[in-house]
Symmetry: C2
Subunit: 267 residues, 2 copies
């Protein structure tokens, strides 16, 4: 029963292809025209056209008559509400984040892994707001963020392997780890230490400490981080280590008492 599957293809028929188009549209981050989509979708003109029509009158996309552009539709917001409430750690973790926020006064992030990327599912702002992007639903790279590395470090080998192939290893700063080998070494350190650092690997001047949230069986459920924008951040953050680990532990406990969020199969 080993996956000596002779069929690595899982294109999921029409539905899969149509949803892929939805992703393409979302990726643009702005309204797009048909002609811009065509080259990135790898579909015949007529087919793409039909898909866009379908998605539009399904409310998954909205079409701007005036500007002839497509953008993700409000139906997604409705659906995502349910997803966030049921499939994310956020509702469960909320009280613990509130608590930690009160205790530290720092910016907090709660993230989960999706398709090898970091998906932020909740956030607490510091009293002194730090300049950085991130909100629920926002995605970011795994290989150069605290939460990302914390999660990767505890992935089983096959899932890790899969996730690594999806990393771009783009150099954001001079501290960014830009290849799988050095990242693997770093992950080893994280496992020894029990938590991860992001030492300006993603954004200059931004450091954070991150702890994985693991199910009792050791499965990766998500990760939690505390961010600092201060130059002496590292030292300050270090003092939070016991606290963040403890909080991650509590969240894990609460999560497993209620449900086990199922990790996406490493297809």
């Amino acid at each position: 029963m080993n996956d000596a599957t002779p069929k690595p293809e899982k294109s999921d028929g029409t539905v899969g292809r149509t949803l892929a188009v939805l992703d393409r549209v979302a990726e643009f981050g702005r309204p797009v025209r048909f002609a811009e989509l065509l080259p990135v979708c790898d579909l015949p003109k007529a087919t793409l056209y039909r898909f866009l029509q379908t998605l539009t009158n399904q409310g998954m996309l909205a079409f701007d008559e005036d500007r002839q552009t497509y953008r993700p539709g409000l139906r997604l917001v409705r659906l995502a509400h349910a997803a966030w409430a049921q499939s994310s750690l956020a509702p469960i973790a909320a009280p613990f984040l509130d608590q930690l926020s009160k205790e530290t006064g720092q910016t907090l992030h709660l993230a989960q892994l999706d398709q090898g990327m970091v998906l932020y599912v909740d956030k607490r702002n510091a009293s002194h707001p730090v300049e950085m992007f991130s909100q629920s639903g926002k995605v970011g790279p795994a290989y150069c963020t605290g939460v990302g590395k914390a999660m990767l470090a505890y992935l089983p080998e096959d899932a890790l392997q899969n996730a690594l192939t999806r990393q771009s290893f783009h150099r954001f700063t001079e501290h960014t780890l830009t290849d799988a080998t050095s990242l693997r070494a770093e992950l080893e350190n994280i496992r020894k230490r029990g938590f991860a650092w992001d030492d300006e690997e993603h954004e200059p001047g931004i450091r954070c400490i991150a702890a994985p949230i693991l199910s009792p069986q050791g499965r990766v459920l998500g990760a939690l981080s505390i961010t600092s924008g201060q130059p002496d951040g590292q030292k300050q953050l270090e003092t939070y280590a016991p606290l963040i680990l403890e909080t991650a532990e509590k969240i894990a406990k609460a999560a497993s008492d209620w449900r086990f969020p199922e990790q996406k199969r490493a297809d």
Copy 2:
């Protein structure tokens, strides 16, 4: 060009049917089993099964192995982030909401119309800071909420007609308007007044004042409300009338400067 369309059905093929299943799952508001879905989906067993499989390995649903349940998947959260940022008024309205929140100290709601329902896209709490999908993405009835009525009041007749057929007219409180006729009368008052009241029509003890957000051409973009839980709420809220109208105006201006969010076609 009137919809004397001989084909009121627009089933959108496989994709449409599959997405309908996604809605059914989301509606449950909790993880569902195959057998619970079967009766509400009106599909043959094998077909529903295949759809669920497809949605699951597309990440639109997540499947809990242990409990054998389906729930909306994280991919939706990612997609919705883009939708929220591009198709909702929220990003544009944010600074104005912040301002209004500071000035009034009250709970605010920003909503848009989706499928005849009120879709909340942003919120400001009296105390807490912003919570993303916890509130945005939530849906509510149009016929008995301030924001709902404010939007209905300015809809063109055909769209209103369509929206009215989608209202359940369930009696939530003794103040709820429970039929189209009395609602239409109320809408007339709202147009005269320029803003809407919700006088405990949805929840006992909860009142609000709401203003429509209209494009320069008079198209309904959304609505804004200030809520009060105080017994003397009405009187207090009345003093906010000029302020909320002014804020709605500003948001409308800002929105039309940047883009015209296209309203869902009244299919």
